[in-house]
């Protein structure tokens, strides 16, 4: 029989193996280590926001003038009532064309020497363009909503109804345009986006007068609301993919 090993004196060991005294150089060493770690990178949205300053002032002004002029025509022409909502929807469906028209301009590098620099940085020129497009598109939508909202208040229309009929076609067409932008080369994109907007306008104008009254009547509003929610989700998804992956090609 093997002799039993005596139990160590745990109490004495614990007293002897006391934790070491704090190392006075410890915090400094930790700071030194932290400095060697790579800094955290900003999220894609920070980058997108930073690009707002690089869209030309003239483009912002042109966007405002065109939208205001079109909406002024909506407010002044024709009969109020459901026809006014129809005109709002038409105008909003065509609004993303402002963005399509500006794609080449947003993608341009205004100083040739910058092109090489921007191509060699972490964020590619394609991503820069995508970010600028996104900013311009969001501002387009906000401006449309603000102007239409102001018009609705001035014409004593129900605000949310006007916004519903404005934002739904706008978001649908924009989501489709962004999806095309990710897949097509610039020349093909402009044509395809025009076709999408034209198709949207045809869908809005084609129904006969009776159907149109139903389309812009009280009963149709839940469908418009559902379409708005779906199109906003689609738009957000497309925007997210665009900022993460950039465009298919440099413009």
């Amino acid at each position: 029989m093997t002799p039993r090993t005596p139990e160590p004196d745990w109490g004495a060991l614990l007293r002897r193996d006391a934790p070491p005294a704090p190392d006075p150089a410890g915090p400094a060493n930790t700071l030194r280590l932290l400095r060697t770690l790579p800094p955290p990178r900003p999220t894609g949205w920070d980058f997108v926001r930073s690009q707002a300053g690089f869209i030309r002032k003239g483009m912002w002004a042109a966007q405002f003038v065109v939208l205001a002029a079109v909406l002024a025509l909506v407010w002044t022409g024709g009969d109020p009532g459901s026809d006014l909502l129809y005109r709002y929807a038409l105008c909003a469906g065509a609004a993303p064309l402002l963005l399509v028209a500006n794609v080449q301009d947003l993608a341009r590098v205004y100083h040739q020497g910058m092109l090489e620099l921007e191509l060699a940085t972490r964020y590619s020129l394609a991503k820069i363009t995508a970010a600028r497009l996104l900013i311009f598109g969001v501002c387009d939508g906000v401006l449309l909503a603000v102007l239409a909202g102001a018009g609705a208040v001035a014409c004593r229309q129900t605000l949310w109804v006007v916004l519903l009929y404005c934002l739904t076609p706008f978001c649908c067409v924009s989501a489709l345009c962004l999806a095309l932008l990710r897949r097509l080369r610039p020349a093909a994109f402009a044509k395809a986006a025009l076709a999408v907007a034209a198709a949207a306008l045809v869908v809005l104008t084609l129904p006969a007068g009776r159907i149109r009254r139903h389309l812009y009547g009280l009963d149709a509003r839940p469908f418009w609301a559902a379409a708005l929610i779906l199109s906003v989700l689609a738009l957000a998804w497309q925007a997210r993919r665009l900022t993460r992956g950039g465009l298919r090609t440099t413009l």
Binding site: P39, F47, S50, H111, Q112, L117, R122, Y123
Partner: protein
């Protein structure tokens, strides 16, 4: 340490090969790229930055093609192009902040690096001055600062000392020599003395190929026995100048005495062999472009 591996790298413009079947490995250290105009230096640098797509061959970082690494590779890269343009309405700090955004730096990191680099390149005083008012040298220094902004592992500088005065060139050399530890720095310049002072390895490029590579001492050895000095009169000097590649001409003392430094394998009578410099090596390799012996 990861390396930049170039394998059979070729870039053709129609029938002309700007870079021709170049195989090379760039590890840690400063590499000086020397070559005449049109030798393919800028094309090579653009391909290393991923701006130009090679016609054939690959550039790999750590074994992976840079095209596949994409954003991950560009995050490691600092680049100063030869024709460095910038938005003229920016101030220096604004320009660096813009580049910092493109390079994906955080605001805190941007503030720290901007202040640090502006001081290092001697532009801290230029604060609110617009870039349109910058001199050529100031713009070049700002270009160097933007290239180093993201603390890159690979720094590629195309003619970084162009337009810098001697004091600024010395400052630049010290900056790069300090910076290069643990990193890959590739710089091209026409100013041989800049490369001589800081480069660990020289790459001599001619007609799209690396014709010679090595340390400054190794390169100098390749021209040993081909560099001569000869003391003569002005009339003979003029005759020799027409025949030989002359690295230097110096009038000596009074009268028409002239000392010539010749690069040749067939020296004239009375010539004495001297220690070659990197400039001599350069002239030796590019002598045929002048059509001399």
């Amino acid at each position: 340490m990861e390396e930049l591996q170039l394998q059979h790298l070729t870039k053709c413009y129609k029938q002309f090969a700007a870079v021709n079947d170049l195989t090379l490995t760039l590890g840690e250290g400063v590499y000086g790229l020397l070559g005449a105009n049109g030798a393919g230096k800028t094309t090579l640098m653009r391909m290393l930055c991923g701006i130009l797509e090679p016609t054939r061959g690959t550039v790999r970082w750590g074994g992976t093609e840079i095209a596949r690494l994409g954003e991950e590779y560009r995050a490691l890269l600092g680049y100063l192009p030869q024709d460095f343009g910038c938005y003229p309405d920016f101030t220096g700090p604004e320009f660096l902040r813009y580049i910092a955004v493109l390079k994906g730096l955080t605001p805190a990191e941007t503030r720290r690096r901007t202040a640090q680099l502006l001081a290092q390149v001697g532009l801290e005083e230029a604060g609110r001055k617009k870039l349109r008012a910058y001199s050529g040298g100031m713009r070049q220094r700002l270009g160097i600062a933007q290239a180093m902004l993201n603390d890159p592992r690979i720094l590629i500088l195309d003619e970084p000392t162009a337009g810098l005065d001697p004091r600024e060139r010395v400052r630049f050399r010290n900056l790069i020599a300090d910076y290069a530890k643990g990193r890959t720095v590739l710089l091209s310049t026409h100013i041989v003395s800049d490369v001589e002072a800081i480069a660990d390895k020289i790459l001599l490029m001619k007609a799209g190929r690396i014709v010679e590579e090595g340390t400054v001492a190794q390169m100098a050895d390749t021209a040993r026995g081909k560099v001569w000095t000869v003391h003569t009169d002005a009339a003979t000097a003029a005759r020799l100048e027409a025949v030989y590649t002359v690295a230097n001409l110096r009038h000596t003392g009074a009268g028409d005495g002239v000392e010539l430094r010749l690069i040749t394998t067939d020296p004239p009578e009375g010539a004495v062999a001297v220690e070659p410099t990197l400039e001599d090596v350069y002239l030796w390799h590019f002598a045929d472009e002048e059509g001399k012996s």
